[in-house]
Symmetry: C2
Amino acid sequence: MNVDAAYAELVGLLKRGHLLGSVGELLGWDEQVNLPPDSADQRAEQQAVQAEVQHAAASDPRIGECLDALRDVSLSEDQLAVVRQARRDYERATKLPADFVREKAAQGSRGYHAWAKAREESDFAGYAPVLEKNLELAKREAAYLGWAGREYDYMIDRHDPGMAAVAIERLFSELRNELVPLVREISVATLTRKKTGGALRGFPPERQRTFLREVTEKLGFDYRRGRIDVSLHPFCSGTGADVRMTTRFKEDEPLDSLFSAIHETGHGLYEQGLPRAHYGTALGMSAGMGAHESQSRLWENQVGRSRGFWRYFEPRFRALFPAQTADVSSDELYFAINAVKPTLIRVDADEVTYNLHIILRFDLERKLFAGKISVRDLPAAWRTLSKDLIGLEPANDREGVLQDVHWSDGSFGYFPSYCLGNMMAAQIWYRALAERPALEEDFARGDFLWLLGWLRKEVHAAGRRWELLELVRRVTGEELSPRHLVRYLRERYAALYLG
Amino acid sequence: MNVDAAYAELVGLLKRGHLLGSVGELLGWDEQVNLPPDSADQRAEQQAVQAEVQHAAASDPRIGECLDALRDVSLSEDQLAVVRQARRDYERATKLPADFVREKAAQGSRGYHAWAKAREESDFAGYAPVLEKNLELAKREAAYLGWAGREYDYMIDRHDPGMAAVAIERLFSELRNELVPLVREISVATLTRKKTGGALRGFPPERQRTFLREVTEKLGFDYRRGRIDVSLHPFCSGTGADVRMTTRFKEDEPLDSLFSAIHETGHGLYEQGLPRAHYGTALGMSAGMGAHESQSRLWENQVGRSRGFWRYFEPRFRALFPAQTADVSSDELYFAINAVKPTLIRVDADEVTYNLHIILRFDLERKLFAGKISVRDLPAAWRTLSKDLIGLEPANDREGVLQDVHWSDGSFGYFPSYCLGNMMAAQIWYRALAERPALEEDFARGDFLWLLGWLRKEVHAAGRRWELLELVRRVTGEELSPRHLVRYLRERYAALYLG
């Protein structure tokens, strides 16, 4: 086969597989946003058959033939990146039997509904068999792919290629040593100085929707190629051509829906910034979950919780909610936005303690895969660790082990990406600030375009040419390290709480 | 192959193909309900690849092997119905090249957007190339399937197996001979007696939504296995496990959204009544489009426009819209619901003149396929026929040839089903009345269960054991005839307008 022809055919086959995957992703979005309550069984069947055809496309022997034709020939650096990723995906696809893929997809859909029910009823016992099954499937999958004995590293590698549990452990323990004292200092300061945010009550969802739509549009989200809807657990799916974000509305927690939306907007901006012409290949895909989280976290925290951001948006916020904000001073509002208060629920956590929630889950996942604890031990182990790390013990499993959706479809090894993303976000942030020290003044004028343009150029346009660690090196000139995150948290929160 | 094993495998393969089709259908629903404006290109690509895998599943050689094993063996009547339909679908699938299927799917998606734009701008010239392409694809499809020279019969047969243009022509001309004088009589009566409905203005969409949700739920639609949303053109898609209906809201036309919703509910009740255990086979599918329309029309017209229905729902309607209905008497409301007034737009037409709109389209489609007119002639031909049949001439193509979505994705031969459905609805209605003369008194008490139960038993449970003409014979004991429709229209409208 001619090299150019083989490369062109490979790209077409990859695109085809990704299109089928994008249809499966839409099924998943629809399931969480639109599905009628008694239609879950059919959706599970649809997901299963769709996963099967996607798997067939990803393991099409023609891909293998193209890859063979592209071995030991002269290729550009871009082409090499495409072929490297294609080879990895093809090997992953061909080593998994079709029956296994079907079983896992059906289990994922059932698992979601079992989780939603268990969480509603705070019933871990009824959910445990689902988790046991998910763990078994995860181990079988790792074994199929040649990772037997390193199952948890496989789960991590799936989300962040090149990362492993040992490396994460090193980064996390350095972070933990810095964070625990910082949280203690802030807690003491909070107790003695009573610096708390104002109460925010009675924000009609329709108005919240108006505000977050204006904010996310201003940040640069393109609603001509995306939308935002409501789901139980906020998420972002789809690709640059059609990005589907979700949030949720609570009358007394307007900042929850807003920051969920800004977080998902960060993901959406990344997807919308990936080179669309390279859809389906490494050049058109994100660098991994950690890199994805770095984008969502940067917009949510470094941008969305900054003084500059609120200097611009506060007047509009007050105009939309005059009665609700009448008794809240600007300082009180800013404290509410940056409240540090240990909580049991990860998605409600402030950005300082958030990382401790991740360290907790990483610790449990490692032990679970190492067989040091069983699924049945999770609730108790969760309670103990929660007390140690966050200082709070859940009263029931709904605010403990049942709070997250991730394990319900077997997404083990996903949580660490959140914290890796936080580290990368802070590290990137200081690099951007070095290039443009007046960044916050841009925000205060409602101008987010320089930052978006810089991220487009430095991060988004790269696609998956490089993996997390190399991407960080190239963007910032340094190795990934938690110290930028610690510096950022100290700068922002020391000024607020310890100043 | 063992007969039982072959039959079981066949059923599994059919179900798989239908599941993949149901995913494609969801893509279509999402396209009309949710798609961001600039995401149409990717959706076209998704539709194309999905159609391709569905086509591959429908033409899986294993189906052919199972069908061979089931030839000349002893099968039950139900099994024979399943095998007959499976053979027809398999032959249809295997005679169409995969490239053709892909091209047609992509063209269907592009066509929808081209139509929406052309209609918006009343620009037929820009849309004509799409229609020409659709016509060419339709003819090529007919030729692939051995219907060369009978292309329009093929298009009809696709929607209503067993029907043909000649048979429809006979039914339609009998109907036309009765309808034209009836419409003239009513028009004269309207002019001389000024019997017009009251003006209905300023109905907030949210309240309209509340009312139509209550109505459709009372009629028996199961919202635990379905939903209703908003789209440009109302439709119903999905299957009994997950039925997706749409309507649209206009402040000054509350009856438009309501009757669209009742119409789609009729489709939805049929889908929800099909035997779910037989999903994917003839035993679990509708008898065809005409039969489908008989259900939507029966609920919309015979039920929804009856005195009994409004005796029950009028108090609730007034309670939800007290100011809007204050100056409208009960008689005026009932006239508004049953207004007969020729209009240019089919979907706005009353149920008397509606059939003339179909006869117009049937006439144009026949001529188009026979080569007696070309696509470029359509606007003028439409204007002439509209004047002849309905007595009105469109001022522009937006209220003429551009009004309907159907041709945009090549759904020729679909329109006749609406009128066949109207005939079948009236014929079934008199059969139901013969069994339960007090039917309207049920409605006046808010009881629609007897009727739904009877339709479930007589029509829905049958699936596609029989085609339209045989189904009508079995349910009513007579051949399909327009005289029941004429009788029904005369009884209802003569009482209102000529009494």
